[in-house]
Subunit: 692 residues, 2 copies
């Protein structure tokens, strides 16, 4: 599951190691282990269990890699526009472009179900570390991973079996495997679009302004959770404070940061800097060029490729920013020093002596990865078959094999706990555009040949003596996977139906699958298992250094972060923390991405020019936090997090309090927009307000 | 001047430092300092001064960044197809596509002048180190560069003043500035296309096979040097040996390797690995995606963008290979060890103690570069205005300013010694395609905004409140620079004509020029001058370590390399050194880039299937060596170098004798192709043959 906005992050030149005292605002804290003493000391803030439980139950995570919150008693959920962008695109047609024109359901009957969208609300956290450790104890390599995976599957299955309808359970590896917690969620899979502004205001400034500030975006979307055909009525939801937060005021984000690597070893950071990061960045760059031209060809091409380009451009900038940090010689020198200090500590303490070898074992795993990375990309990562049809076909082929196995032996996507989500993906009614598929598939088959080589046996099995262009056109012409009935037959028919199919994408998935699975196994045994096992050992050394006062690296699970409204200095120039409505109108031109939609040009006179629009805070966030409610100490909404500044992108690896900022839509601006621009009276009335 | 094939290189895990004894085949040797003792010992080969002079005078360098050789008494020059590709494209039209169909002048009157092409033949080498050092002695920073540059301009001007017609003089910095040699060339600027095979056989296998072996290419082109309207008659030319070389036989390349960085410091290598290389690679990747789609739109788009895509793809793969080497942890560890050894040596010897600080000064220069790199790219490197019109406009604007200055103060392109070549570029009749210009300019203006930021004052001056799309379309519609008469008027009219012009590209060049020049100055003073000065000091330390038996890093000047015909082991599998004509026909399919042109499908029966086609040697080459004659100890041609294998790309930084190979077209295959496929009887008769 991709993290939609991997980017934004407020992080640490000092890393977790040094945080306890000096770096007040670093930290993405699990809700069972908040830094209560520090919060009391620094902010005079002492959230009680009821406050914590309420925030937890009012927060949600989206299947697409974002965060959100319930904001009404009738199941209304606030998140970002870029988090509902897929749904908006899927509900659009060549004659009704909701991305361009926006969407507003004036009544509940106008709300439209997103084809491929679900929400998870975290209900309970349970420590299962002892149980999982016991199962894997004394093992290594593939045996270690298999034992751990099997036990985790048992824990999850038990949890779901005993739970209420909609229960969804996941075991989360924290502190790089040193701790396992069982997270029990309630899943909502009937989610309907309620409101999305026009793209031009939602993402005003587009790619050029992405990760920048000053900013002028209404990057919001509203959906509603349904069950049994009716809106849900959550017990906990958050209330709006239209006044928002003042400069210097404490702010809290509640959301699901995707991935940080602040505790990576130097060898792992080198792999990111020198192997995985550069590959991703150059691949994204080439895809971006391809899309850019495709979209210039016609308005319809522009429409159908827009979300994909947005995702690509966002990932591109995010990776660029991350690599910029890793390529800073000072940052790397700091990481080396920190690692040396930890290794010294391990060498000095008798009880940690056995752990001294952990860093070298992780380094060896990185070398193993370098040896298999390229083939892994083009098989297991499916980079040679960039196509919705292929994604569906591979799920069908794999589901047929996997569903015949015991739950603990299955690939993750086909375990009982994930199967429904995978089926939703396969059976999605989202449109698939042949011209766009052809563009992507032709290109990616060319890359397969380029990187594995013309004479490679797998390449020969895929391409035969034909060309990528010809094959892509033929396969897309011949496939029946656009037909949902065909997909359903293959999904239900299992192995026999798959074996009988001569659909070209089913065939392609079958051709790639043996090597793909073999490489997946190797990566798990030779790389991931070694990393996890030894990261556990390093985590023990780190605990010896800092105690349990540290927070774990991000894992796309619920975390709170604590900060305040504050600007920063960019290249010596101060950046003020707020933008206003008047600034938006000053920045607007006649051309995208700085063109305003007609609703906004028309509404200008009715809006308060001094209304704060966007602002920045020092909260420690990262991609996955998109859509997080920004709340005050009372638990009321003062804003909606949607981005980080460009300085924050290195936050994946370390924290720099002086310049990393979270970018937020102001709560009062959201209400003004709904009322004065969209005249969404029913929604304005529905959204809960803080008690006066 | 771009090096067309930056890539290929046969280089060294041990670098120059250790070469003298163990690594027989490393080295790109200047003709005044060949490793004669080693050649005698290793090969029993003792070239006399006449042999050396003949090879020197039979070799040429092309303005486009390639090498070549005279192969007849009537001025016929052999080089690669990819070295005449620009000319072939420029002489093509929408109705006559010479790239696709090839070109053969059956008589001299059919030979067609290349719009923008010249050849340099090296006539004499003179050591001017003492003179240049004296001028710069005791200075640093900008003063150091200015003094050196002024003295070099004097030396060059004196040389040209006293020389015969066509004389062209360049002072070459060798050993990173420790030695300056004056190279006196004879320049031929009337060069006519004689023969180019169809692209599909010249570059059979296209990008997928580029830098790979086994290989099946007829990557050759023939041009003829003219003077005063008649073919020239060089005193020295090389003769073909149709039998070629056998496995294990000694081979020599004579050519102009562009750039190696084997003597870079670790800080400089980090800059390549972490700053410049990644930027270039991702930029090329995005350009490639853009081109790829543009070319899919129509056969005409495919035709007009083809050379550009070829250049981009070639550079992309070359940079990828170079970075792959630099990202290998073992390679970097080796470089660190070597540098530490040199620093230790300097610290130990009293006479070198002053040089110990040289490495740190170079490191500080790299940090300075990091601070200005981005703005430098978008101003001085013109990456925000990717357009032929802009390139012409900038030359016009700058020439107007520069020509008013003393020669020593001018920017290099406008010094007396280079002015004619610059004028040829400005006045080139090569076609400019508006649709293609629009594609490139729109994209690059978008990049300008993306990387310098919407709020940047320079970006605002360029874009105003308009969009890149709109501006690019308008400027390309309004410009008159397609008209050669307009260009000539502006070239001759000097500053007054430029000031009076309202051409949008002249305007753009004027807007960018002040900051561009300022950044150029800073880069020269804070980066290049520091690097050069301190590289000189390090070179002295290196001389103390290895004596003068080392060769200098490549400088796009004439070098010989010595090797032999030999395969290698790729991932444990042996690769045989030769391919044959039968292999070509086995590899062919119905689809580009593995499709044969009709001439070749028709000629199949008449060709010897066992004729060796391409082969590999251990010669140490790199981009710029494309088109080098491969000769035997008698000085006869046994092949035509056109590429390096993928393993060789790290050769820019170090040499690995076990796997780096030079890829060559076999001499006998060239003759068979001309005779049996193209029936080019006059050429076959003209090409000189070895004495029997």
């Amino acid at each position: 599951m991709p993290i939609k906005r991997l980017p934004a992050a407020l992080a640490a030149l000092a890393t977790a190691l040094a945080l306890a005292s000096s770096h007040a605002e670093e930290g993405m804290w699990t809700l069972d282990n908040l830094p209560l003493a520090h919060l009391k000391e620094a902010y005079g803030f002492a959230p009680d269990p009821a406050w914590i439980a309420k925030v937890m139950h009012a927060s949600v995570r989206t299947e697409g890699g974002c965060s959100g919150s319930f904001i009404s008693p009738d199941g209304l959920v606030m998140t970002n526009h870029h988090c509902v962008e897929d749904c908006v695109g899927q509900l659009s047609t060549s004659t009704r472009d909701l991305m361009r024109d926006g969407f507003l359901a004036r009544t509940r009957t106008e709300e439209r179900r997103c084809p491929d969208f679900s929400l998870d609300r975290l209900d309970r956290i349970t420590d299962v570390t002892a149980r999982v450790s016991k199962a894997a104890k004394g093992r290594s390599g593939a045996e270690y991973s298999d034992a751990k995976r099997a036990e985790i599957a048992h824990v999850e299955a038990e949890c779901e079996k005993g739970g209420p309808a909609g229960v969804h359970c996941e075991v989360v590896d924290l502190y790089h495997g040193a701790v396992q917690h069982l997270y029990r969620y309630h899943r909502f899979d009937d989610v309907r679009l309620v409101f999305a502004p026009e793209y031009d205001i939602a993402q005003f400034g587009g790619d050029p302004d992405n990760f920048n500030f000053p900013r002028y975006d209404l990057d919001m979307g509203l959906v509603r959770a349904y069950e049994n055909g009716s809106p849900v009525h959550p017990a906990d939801f958050l209330r709006f404070d239209p006044a928002g937060a003042k400069a210097g005021e404490m702010t809290i984000t509640s959301g699901n940061p995707g991935t940080t690597r602040r505790q990576f070893t130097v060898a792992q950071l080198e792999r990111v800097r020198d192997v995985d990061g550069p590959w991703k960045l150059t691949r994204l760059a080439e895809q971006r060029g391809l899309m850019t031209r495709f979209m210039q060809e016609s308005p319809e091409n522009a429409r159908i490729a827009k979300e994909e380009l947005d995702t690509i451009e966002n990932s591109y900038k995010a990776w660029y920013g991350q690599l910029l940090a890793l390529r800073d010689p000072e940052v790397f020198a700091l990481k080396r020093r920190e690692e040396a200090a930890l290794r010294d500590l391990a060498a000095q303490r008798p009880e940690l002596k056995d752990d001294v070898g952990a860093w070298d074992e992780i380094a060896r795993a990185q070398a193993a990865w370098r040896g298999i990375a390229m083939r892994h990309r083009f098989t297991e990562d499916a980079q040679g078959a960039w196509s919705e049809f292929f994604d569906i076909a591979r799920h069908l082929v794999r589901a047929a094999d996997e569903r015949a196995k015991p739950d603990g032996d299955r690939l993750p996507a086909y375990k009982a706990s994930r199967l429904a989500a995978t089926e939703q993906e396969v059976m999605s009614s989202a449109p698939i555009y042949p011209a766009f598929e052809r563009l992507k598939l032709t290109w990616s088959l060319t890359k397969l040949r380029e990187w594995l080589g013309v004479d490679d046996p797998l390449v020969k099995r895929v391409l035969g003596r034909e060309s990528p262009e010809v094959l892509a056109a033929r396969w897309i012409g011949e496939t029946h996977l656009a037909d949902l009935a065909v997909r359903e037959r293959l999904w239900r028919g299992g192995r026999a139906a798959i074996d009988a199919s001569d659909d070209p994408f089913i065939r392609l998935a079958r051709v790639l699958d043996p090597e793909s699975r073999a490489l997946r196994k190797r990566a798990e045994a030779e790389v991931e298992a070694v990393e996890h096992k030894n990261a556990e050992r390093i985590a023990q050394v780190r605990f010896a250094q800092t105690g349990t006062s540290a927070y774990p690296d991000a894992t796309f699970t619920l975390r709170l972060s604590f900060g305040k409204v504050e600007g920063w200095n960019a290249d010596g120039k101060p950046v003020a923390p707020f933008t206003t409505v008047s600034g938006l109108y000053e920045r607007a031109t006649d051309f995208a991405p700085f063109r305003l939609p007609p609703t906004w040009t028309g509404a200008k006179g009715g809006l308060d020019p001094k209304q704060p629009m966007n602002f920045v805070t020092t909260n420690d966030i990262i991609g996955g936090n998109s859509g997080s409610p920004v709340i005050d100490r009372a638990g009321d909404i003062v804003g909606l997090a949607f981005d980080g500044n460009i300085e924050s992108l290195g936050g994946a690896y370390f924290w720099d309090e002086s310049s990393n900022r979270c970018v937020v839509v102001h709560s009062g601006f959201i209400l003004q927009a709904l009322e004065k621009v969209y005249h969404a009276d029913a929604l304005v009335a529905e959204i809960a307000r803080k008690a006066r």
